[in-house]
Structures are given as structure tokens and as C-alpha cells.
Symmetry: none
Subunit: 347 residues, 3 copies
Amino acid sequence: MNSGNTQFDQSNTPVAAFLRNNAPTQGMGVDMSGQFGNSNIMMNSQPQVNQLNNFNLAELKRLQQLQQQLQATNQAPNPMMQSSANPSALLFQNYLDQKIQSTRFNDSLNPLAGVGGFSGMGSQNPLINSNLFQEQLMINQNVMNGMKSPSGEMALPSPHSIFHRDGSRRMRGGVIEPFPEKLHRLLLEVEAAGRSDIISFVANGRAFAIHMPDKFFKDIVPLYFRQSRLSSFKRQLNLYGFELINTGPARGGYFHELFVKDRPDFCRKMRRVAVKVGAKSSKLSPTKESQGEDAIEKADKILKQLDDEQSSRNDKQDSMEKPLIESGSLHAEPAAVDISPATGAVE
Amino acid sequence: MNSGNTQFDQSNTPVAAFLRNNAPTQGMGVDMSGQFGNSNIMMNSQPQVNQLNNFNLAELKRLQQLQQQLQATNQAPNPMMQSSANPSALLFQNYLDQKIQSTRFNDSLNPLAGVGGFSGMGSQNPLINSNLFQEQLMINQNVMNGMKSPSGEMALPSPHSIFHRDGSRRMRGGVIEPFPEKLHRLLLEVEAAGRSDIISFVANGRAFAIHMPDKFFKDIVPLYFRQSRLSSFKRQLNLYGFELINTGPARGGYFHELFVKDRPDFCRKMRRVAVKVGAKSSKLSPTKESQGEDAIEKADKILKQLDDEQSSRNDKQDSMEKPLIESGSLHAEPAAVDISPATGAVE
Amino acid sequence: MNSGNTQFDQSNTPVAAFLRNNAPTQGMGVDMSGQFGNSNIMMNSQPQVNQLNNFNLAELKRLQQLQQQLQATNQAPNPMMQSSANPSALLFQNYLDQKIQSTRFNDSLNPLAGVGGFSGMGSQNPLINSNLFQEQLMINQNVMNGMKSPSGEMALPSPHSIFHRDGSRRMRGGVIEPFPEKLHRLLLEVEAAGRSDIISFVANGRAFAIHMPDKFFKDIVPLYFRQSRLSSFKRQLNLYGFELINTGPARGGYFHELFVKDRPDFCRKMRRVAVKVGAKSSKLSPTKESQGEDAIEKADKILKQLDDEQSSRNDKQDSMEKPLIESGSLHAEPAAVDISPATGAVE
DNA sequence: GCCGTTCTAGAATATTCGTAG
DNA sequence: CCTACGAATATTCTAGAACGG
């Protein structure tokens, strides 16, 4: 059934287990209605998701934060979680990176900020700045170093990719981790933290949806972004070509052909679509164009592989020129090509 | 096996004739004449409904809401109907599909809703969150799980269409779930809740009628719309080209060629007919024009085809360059092209 | 005696200069820098608020709602402020005017709202219907009746303006209480409820600012709007030409030349600037253009005039072919004429 | 230059008022 | 009185533009 991701999880189930204690178990809690049905689906395609709990320390840190914050928000706490530390070391750096960001930006992180341009200066995020948290980080780092790389066969690109996201391409614009990758990481880590009831992949990992916007924006977003406006998050989604799903089981979720749960590396291919400056002609979305063919094909191939692995399910090999996504690996979709281009192509 | 749509084969005539098939069993409802008798008809066309009583969480949830609200309004919810309330199997998919949206809307009324189109699932609605409801969910989920995976082998129409209502055109503004789809969902869910005595499909699922306007508007509408006037609901019907049936047993019902009980996907093809401003010429509703004769015939033909396809769905095998369903020929809406584009055409 | 508007006479300059008058009293609030200090300023400009504590039913009702909701959100409602909460007398009329609409709106939010177009006063809203509240209403009404008509010499245009927002233009479509007026009412009522710490007028009543976006959107907005997105509120502000103040002590507030605390009637002159479809050329927002200098000066002049007129109101004798207020010259919105017609002009 | 955040505007649907028939 | 529909505003989603790092 699922491939090897399972190895490193059930054994010591660090974070996730802890968090799983909190029980929105199965994320079917209060407000997940339809999503839960998806979780089944997700389980089918990625049954091992929960087991990836301990693959990185960002997760750890974030996990803690999540725990604390969620507790604060009247959600059952999970006392044990701290003991489990084991993300890979390289992510530690990332951790620190993000930490600075987040702390620095606490103003805008303040969930109270909302309208207009004022958000005050909500002093500091207590969780992030807490000494307690710092200590934990240290402790966990030690533990972490002893662990083997969890993402052995998983698609995690390479530890090094944090700094050079793409072998052929240096960091873009001074940003270490562009939005799509960060979002992908967020999703994995939230899932690892057992809070898929807040936000999670849906539709076999081909899209994601926010189930609890309030919690998401208040408790999770600040750990990854400096946005003080929820609309900023949306803007990023739009800029990268995510499309709001307006039908089907995942309605309300966001979809991007290159945003696939099992392939975080695909995120690197995503580019901002609206180029704003001068050159209106350049407005056509690069994402749509270039990515339109090869990237999608790649994605489809990967997706197909996943299908095969999943339950030895090898569907149609139509050999049509149509990418698999469309023809059936996941959903037979002839229009996949149309969609994206359509938006930019309009005018 | 088909759900029995063949029954109305013999009546491939316009609305009135079509509806006349329905037994003129004196309406027992408050203000509908023959409407209530339709439950029989529905049963005829979907005899197997009973088998899927507990197929969905959303249904459960909404059911509870309905029940509670209706009880609150001092009217017994008629337990018998409940047991007999079961859409046909093919609607199961639809249910799952729509589940998310339905819950989301509750959020959208909820001030906490925030991000992009997803806002979690009725996390704030007390009815939804009630423990009682949660238990129900659990129970039903177990039962539900006994069923085979919906997306597994259930032939989802098309992957891409799963995600986007219109594969060729990206959504630019507006809401996620337009009125017709929401209305269709409402009808299915009300039926699932066993309250077809308030509002239901009639005429073999080719139209719908409100049997108890008062209850409908007070107890059901608020769960789906934000309207405070019943006239707003009617305005929407008009905007989308529904026709009031003023003869025959289904008098008082509303009809639209693309509004068919068994085909929730048809709703996606429906377009607003009156495009608010400008383009007065384009105001002519294609529905009204073409619907008189041929459109209905076409629709009936399609419906017949659906029966055949129901068990094995082999879409677009048509040598035509555009399959009926896909291209919307059924809608017979030449102006559909004009209308929608009209807005953009303005420039 | 005038209500003190003369205080800002000396600052008849553009926004920034104008707002700079406000003492940059160090923001003491959580996230507002200089915003909270504005309460002082408000007091300066309307010192007599205390005298009219119980002047209106709507206020009472909403006040109760606010109190309850805010308490529920774990924040002490500050009883002292309550006693001090009193809009100026001239607002009484406005209050009554809006009462109907406001109550109705509560219905529309309420799932139990009555059918059809009547659903008079929040018959279903538990808060409104509570006996406790009813008693309060009675008591206060008696007290209130003892008061002399507050709007006697005030500038309220005419009671009849509810139905005809503009003498020259009859409302045909849309809502009864447009956004600006509703917003103005909101601000007054929030102040009356003693919660100016959440949202309030600033800059001598020439702008408003949201000090606690979270609370504002969660507790107050739902009482007035049906928005589920904060961005919708902002969109409305933009549509009506509000400008975000990005300098000075009132930074983060929103300004509109016709949005003045003491002149709720000015709100009626505000018009939507972006008229959805067509007429791209008309897109230029007149507000932005002209407002920069002269418009504000004009507005200031008007404000000064208001001081003089306040006791004896003899408006625009200007002999200009356009009275200041009526013709919107104050608004300096030449495009106002273009815009609205623009919609139909499309084609 | 590229990316992130925010403000503003465009575009589509939703809701309501008013009126003609 | 009621239906249908024009017209105006309301709400939401997407995209353009500005600014900063």
C-alpha cells in the first residue's frame, strides 16, 4: 500500500502523537463535515501522512506553538508533545529564519489587525519570544541531530534546497523560501501536528482547503507569514495561480496543478503570474505558459506513479497526448490545459 | 441500473404536458394543489432512495438543523418521512460534493469567516457544533464507511470539471456556489432531512415547488441564503430563467430545463439571464425563448440518455465535436454566449 | 451653543495637516498608536454627549446587543462609558430614521426571520425579543418622551428623507440605508454603547478608525452588515471613495470629505464611485483626484459654515449655480454624473 | 529583478426596492 | 395582490499597482 513513509512514524510518533492527543482526532471535529470524507480519500492516496509527523524540527517548534495557541483558544492541550524532537537539522536554520521574521513582524501578525492599514503594534508574540520556547529549540536540536533523515525516500528535495531552491536557479529576490513552498511546508507541518481540521490537503492531495479560517489565520499563519491581512494570503494564492475550486467535493479549496501534496518539489516550479510593472504584454502568466506542458506532464507522471504505488492501481495508459491528470490518473480532465491559460489569456 | 427516469419518456412535450403526467392527486399542502402527491412520483423515479438513508454528514447536520428548527417552530417533523427520505444513489456523489459548501455558507454568515472562499465548516453555528450532532455524525460516518469509496470508482465526470465550474473560463468575481447549484443542493438536503412536505422536486424531478412558503422561508432559506425577503428568492429564480408553472398539477412550481433532480451538474450550465446593467438587448432570456418547445425536447432526450449512461458513463463519445451535455446544447442557450461575455465585452 | 466644531477651524488644510491637529497622544491601546487618544478629541468636539443618554430605542437595543456580545467575548464592557455614551441631540432624528432598517436587518441575519417582506422588527432575535429588552425600551421611551425634540434646530434635512434619500433623485432599487449612512449610524451607536475603543470617529470627527479590527468585525459588523469578509467592508469604503489616511496621528483611519460626525446628513450625498461594469474611462475615482486640495478646503469651509449655521440654518445662498451641499460641489465629484449613467451607457 | 505585503479597482453574483402590467 | 423585471446597492473573488526588501 503506501510506500515507505511509514517507517519513521509509528515507532516514536513524536509530535503528531502528542498533538493527536488533543483531540480533534481525525479532524472531524466540530466543523469538518465534508472534509472528513475527503480525509478518507486522502488516506487512500496518502495514508501515511499522519506518520510523517517527525520529519523536521520546524514542525516541532511550530507544533509547540500550535499547541499553546490552540490551548489558549480553548482547545484541549497536549502536554506530552515536547519530548518528541526529531526533525532534521537543516531545518533548524529555517526555523530560526522564520522565527526572526515572525517576531519581527509581530505587529502585523497580530490577528486583531484587520481593517484599513492600521494594525497596531501588538507588542510581541509571547509564544515565540518565550524563553521556554528557546530552550526547547535547543533541546530538540540535540535530539534531532541524532535522528536519521526522515525523508529518505520522500520527495523532500534536499536539505540544501532551503538556500538554493533550485539547482539551476538561485534564490529569487532574496526570499529564501517562496510562498508556495512555504505553504506546502505549512500544510505538511500542520498535518504532522494533527491539526488537519484547521487546514489540510484535500482531493487526494491535489488541492488544499482551510476549514477553520479563524484559527488558521490566528494561530498558524503568523508562524509562517508576516501577513496581517487575510487578504494578503489570498493575494499570494492568486499571484501564484491558485484557483478557487468552485465545484465538487473540494469546493472552497484552492487548486494548482503544481501544488501536490506528495511533491513539494513541484512548488519550486511555480512562479508568480502577475508581473505588474510596465510591460503589460508581459502580464501573461509565465506559470501558465511554461508550466503548461512539461511541468504538468511531470506532475502527471508523478501522480500516475503514486497511483500505482497506492494500491497497484494502474489506470489507463491512454498514451493520448493529454496529461494524466486529465485522462484519469486522478481525474480525467481534458481542460486542465485550458484552465490556467484561460485566466491570463483573457486579456 | 437506472433510477427510473424512463418513466417520463412518453411525455417529451412542453412543460405543461410534461407535468400533467404527475398524478393530479389533490394537493394536501398548504398552498400547492398537486404538489404533495409528488412524493409518490419521486419514489417512482428513485425507488432505491431508501437504501442510502445515512449517506452523508452534511445531510445529517442539516437534517438536524432542520429538525431542530422545525421543532422549534412548533411543528412535528413527521418522523415517517424521515425514514423515507433518500435521494437516489447517484445523488450521493453530489451530496459529498456539496457538503463542503453547505457548511461553508454557515460560516460566511459567520463573522469569523475570513479567507478566500473557504471558511471552515460551520464552526460557529451552534446547531452544527452541538454534541448531539457530533454523535450523530460519528454513528453515521461508520455506517457510511461501509459504502465503497465514492470517488474511487464512482465515475466522476471529469477531473477538471470537478474543481471548476467552467473549465475554459476562470472565475473572476462573484460567489463560489451560484444560486442554481445552491438551490439544487437545498432541495436534495431538504429531502434528505425528510421535509419534502415543505419544498421538493416535483414532476419527476423536472421542477420544484414550495409547498409551505412560510416554513420554507423561515426555516430553510436562512440556512442557504442571506435573503430577508421571499421576493429575493423569486428574483433569483427569475434571473436564472426559471418559469412559473401555471397550469397542470404542478401549478405553482418552478421549472427550468437545466434544473433536474438527477443531474445537479446541469446547474452549472445555468447562467443568469438578466445581466444587470447595460446591454438591454441582451436581456432577452434565452430560456424563455427556446424553451418553449425544442429545448424541452432536447432536455428530455438528454434525460433519457442519462438513464442509459447511468450505470456506465461513457461521456463524449459523440462524433459531434461537442457532446450534448458538455457543450450545453441542452441548454439551448445561444445567447448564453452573449450574455456572460457581454459583461466583459463592455471592456 | 454649537457643539464645538469650531475647534478645527484653524486647520482648513488637507487631510494630513488637518489630522495633525489631533494631539499625537501616544496610543495607549494595544494596536493603535494614536488612535485611542482620539476619544479625548471626540469629547472636545462633542462635549455634550453625556446629556442625552437615553434618546433612542435603536440605540438601546443595539447597546444591549453590544454589551452582551462583548461580554461574551471576555471583555469587560466598561460600565462607566455606558453612562457617558450619548450622541449629540441632532442625531436623534437620524436614530429614529434608521431604526426600522436596523431592526429589519437583524432579521435578515437571523435564520428565523419571518417570511416575505415583512418581518418587522427583530421579532425573532432573542436579544431584541427578550422581555428584559422590551422593558428597557418602555422605560426609556418614557424618559425619552419627556425630552424636547432634539432635532428641532438641528440640520436634519427632513424626516421624509428615509424614503427619498435625495430630493431630486428617487431611489429605485438598492437598499434603504446605503453604506455610508449605515456606517455613520454604526459609529454613533458604538459610541453610544461606550465602545469607542473598538471603532470611533477620529480627527475631530472628520475621519474614523478601527482600533480593534478583530472585535469590530466579530461583534459589531454582523449587527449592521452581512459581510463575512473583512475585505468586503473595505471594498465598500473604496467604492464610496473613502481614503486611507497614511500620515499623521490618524494614520490608519479612513477619511471622506462628506463623512463627518456631526453631519450624518452629508452621508446621503455620497455616491458610489466605481460602478461595476463598463465605462472603464469613468474608472478614475474623482475623490482621489480632486480631493487632494480644493475638495478638502471646500469641505473645511463647509464645516466652518456649519458652525455658524448650527443655531440658525441658512444654507447655501451662494448664488453659485450649484449649492455647495446639494450639488456635491463639496464632494468635488464631477464624475458623479458620469459614473452612474455610465452603467447604462455601456451599450 | 524578484518576491512579499497592502491598498485599490474590476468583475460577477446576490439582495433589495420600486414599478409596470 | 402578485409576477416579472429594471435599477441600484451589497458582497465576494480576482487582478492591478505601489512600495519595500
